[in-house]
C-alpha cells in the first residue's frame, strides 16, 4: 500500500537512505521537544543528525513537511486508543473504571507525544487542512467509539442527547487538559487529583448519571 519511499527529486530511497531519513526525523522530534517550534531550523536538525542541510532537503520539502511525516506516524499509532473504549462496559462501578482507564490512557498518549501534538494543534487551529485531518484522526480514535457508547447508554431513554456533541466535548476537554496540565497545577489541582476529576466528567457525560460510590 505505502509506495516506496522517495526523495524529493524522485529517486528511490534504499536502505542507507532510509536510515538517514529516519535519523533526521528522530532529531527533528527531539528538537521539537526542546525548542519552540518557531525556532526549529533545518540547519540545527541536520547538524544534530551529523549530516548537512542539503541532505535534509533531499528527503523533505521543508521543516513543515518533515513535521507532517512525524505527525502522520503518531496518528497511526493513535489507533490503539480505540481499545480504551471499544467493548467496554459503562454500567455501575465497572463503568467508572472504564472511565478512569480511558482518561489514563489518553493522557499517557498525549504526554508521550506532546511535542508533535503541540504543533499539530497549532496547525489545525491555524486552519491547515493537513494538520486538521491528523488531529481529527487522533481525536476520532476515541471520539467515535465514545459517541457510540453515549448513544447506547443514554440514547434509548433520551432522544435529545447528541452523542457526537458529548463525545466531542469530552475528547476536546481531555486533549486540552493534557496539553495544559500545568494550568491545573496553578489552580491548586495536583496531577493526581486531575485524573479522577476528568474521569468523573467523562462518566457523567457518557452515562448522564453520577457514579456509584
Amino acid at each position: 500500500m505505502t509506495g516506496q519511499v522517495r526523495t524529493v527529486d524522485g529517486r528511490v530511497a534504499g536502505r542507507r537512505g532510509q536510515e538517514t531519513r529516519q535519523k533526521l526525523l528522530d532529531c527533528l522530534r527531539e528538537m521539537l521537544s526542546t525548542s519552540p517550534y518557531r525556532d526549529v531550523k533545518v540547519i540545527d536538525v541536520a547538524r544534530m543528525a551529523g549530516t548537512s542541510p542539503a541532505t535534509f532537503y533531499q528527503y523533505f520539502p521543508d521543516v513543515e513537511g518533515a513535521v507532517l511525516e512525524i505527525a502522520e506516524e503518531m496518528a497511526e499509532d493513535s489507533g490503539g486508543l480505540k481499545e480504551l473504549v471499544d467493548g467496554k462496559s459503562w454500567a455501575g462501578k465497572t463503568g467508572f473504571t472504564t472511565s478512569e482507564e480511558l482518561v489514563d490512557g489518553f493522557l499517557a498518549f498525549w504526554r508521550k507525544n506532546d511535542a508533535i501534538l503541540r504543533v499539530v494543534t497549532l496547525g489545525a487551529a491555524e486552519g491547515d487542512k493537513r494538520f486538521f485531518k491528523i488531529r481529527m484522526k487522533v481525536l476520532n480514535s476515541v471520539a467515535a467509539p465514545l459517541a457510540e457508547a453515549v448513544r447506547n447508554t443514554q440514547g434509548k431513554t433520551d432522544k435529545t442527547v447528541d452523542g457526537s456533541a458529548i463525545a466531542g466535548s469530552l475528547v476536546t476537554l481531555l486533549a486540552a487538559a493534557a496539553e495544559h496540565s500545568k494550568a491545573f497545577t496553578s489552580w491548586g489541582v495536583k496531577v493526581k487529583d486531575l485524573k479522577p476529576n476528568l474521569a468523573l466528567q467523562v462518566y457523567l457525560g457518557v452515562t448522564g448519571k453520577k457514579p456509584p460510590k
Copy 2:
C-alpha cells in the same frame, strides 16, 4: 503605572514614535491572523506598516517581543469577562441563562482574539512562562469567579467537590472548543448546536444538577 514607552536603545518615544509603534503592532496582529505563526517575518510586518525592518527593531527586540505586547493588551481586555459570572444567579431557569450567556461571551471573546490566543496557547504549551502567565490571566478572569460559584452552589451539600478543579475543567473546555470549533463541525455538530451543549456542560458542572426544562 505604565512607565513611558521606551525604545530598545532606551530613548523615550514621543507622539510620532508611538504612532509608528502602534502601527507596527496593528500590522503584526493582522499578519498573525493571516499567516502561520512560524512564517511571520519582521520584514513583512515592516513592509506592511510602510517602514523598514530597522524601525521595527527600535521598538521591539524581536517578533516574539512584539507578540507579547499584543498578548498583554488582550489580557487586560479579558478582565471584562469577570462580569459574565460575578453576581449572577445559578438557580433554576435563571441559572441556565447565566450559563448560556457565559458560554456566549467567552466564545465571542476568544473568536475576537483568536489569532493572538493561538500563539499564547502555543507558547504556554511550550513552557514559556510569560505566555503561560498571560494565558492564566485570561482563563482566571472566568475560572476564579466560577470556582467561587461552584463552592457556593455545591460546596454546602458536598464537601468533596473541588470548585477549582471543576471551574478549571470547564474553562479549559470552553477555550479548547473556541479554538477548535471546526472539529465539532466535522463531528456533525453545528456551531448553533455547540453553544447549548457547552452551556449544558457548564450548568451541570456548576450546579451538579440537570437543568430545568
